[in-house]
Symmetry: C3
Subunit: 155 residues, 3 copies
């Protein structure tokens, strides 16, 4: 395990590992948030789920679409579309051996932008707050991809 | 390639590699399952897809939403939301050098929970079977994330 | 960073890194394509987004579903379901030390198939063009998963 210990001692890799874990946990938080909304608002996607809150009445009425649940789900979907590319490209970026300060700038900007994105999405803050936070995240990932492709390309 | 051979000789990494591949293949299986249901039930999302089963009649009627297809798609979406975080955090977890027995416990519990989750979702088993299997998967990923963040943090 | 430099000198890893980055960037391109269609066709998923194009009239009418936007979103979803498994299994495959020529064959076939898949989805080309391109991508990922599982299994 010499090389693994070696990698885990690399500060850029440690920073990547920390920020990637934080932002993935943030993404996973959307699942319990959806469940919580579904249980409190009694809005389900599957008929069998209605037994979680009741065993008698109008179960079919509970299988419907609710705007608040859909909002959280759209936020979760946007996380999948943005956070996973960040983690995958971020891993390759880390292996190109960037400067620690520049790497930290990328990771911190991304995590902050996604936290702000979630707040502005869930609370429906006036635009362009959500659009701008999304753009910062995209810019970070594209900047890292640029470094990966310019450091070493093999087509 | 000395270090790659080294890593591939690491038993925890081998176990991660095996279980991650199995659970990703399980997730990918939802795509052909959706296609199969679409073709046999003649339910499509795109007008051009209707030519796969017919060239004459009411094509527009085939572009509709079917509860069975949507159920499989929701299961696929839940896989994306849970299996991908497991693989990404699992990779970082593997690099922290955990005990083989504890790592195996995590990987096996996750894969079993997701197999059971798929069965309980597709067959619409009574709740809380699906909810519990989902919670086990979440708990495994959060436990691995906790180890990543406590082993080495660089903010 | 000796082992990182070592890994980055590995030609198979370099090829993986290049093709994975290209195909992830392609996937990320679907987001601005969706935004562009939403802004030009004035079709939004959130009420607050309508202020991006207007500040007066029928805002509620702009929160609707449009077939062209949904087509791009389905293409994006299909990318998530196929490209992310490719990148994750491709990383494990790269670590099994495959022949460079065989690895390149896999990576090139996958990237070409997904580029063709996007074109055939967005332009609604007659089937089975999209179905075939999707199958090529699936076959590549399954072939890589087969190599991972046959090279070294630890259950």
């Amino acid at each position: 395990m010499a090389e693994v210990v070696h990698m885990i001692d690399n500060e850029v890799f440690l920073a990547f590992s920390t920020y990637a874990t934080i932002v993935i946990l943030k993404m996973m938080l959307m699942s319990p948030m959806t469940s919580y909304l579904r249980l409190t608002k009694k809005v389900f996607a599957n008929l069998e789920d209605t037994t979680l809150v009741t065993s008698t009445e109008d179960k079919k009425k509970m299988v419907r679409v609710d705007p608040d649940v859909e909002r959280v789900r759209r936020c979760h979907q946007n996380d999948l579309e943005n956070i996973i590319p960040f983690v995958l490209i971020g891993l390759l970026y880390t292996l190109t051996g960037p400067d620690l300060s520049i790497a930290l700038l990328h990771f911190r900007a991304f995590v902050c932008s996604r936290l702000f994105h979630t707040v502005s999405y869930v609370l429906a803050l006036p635009q362009p707050s959500r659009a701008l936070s999304w753009m910062v995240g995209m810019a970070v990932t594209i900047s890292m991809a640029y470094r990966v492709l310019t450091t070493a390309v093999y087509l």
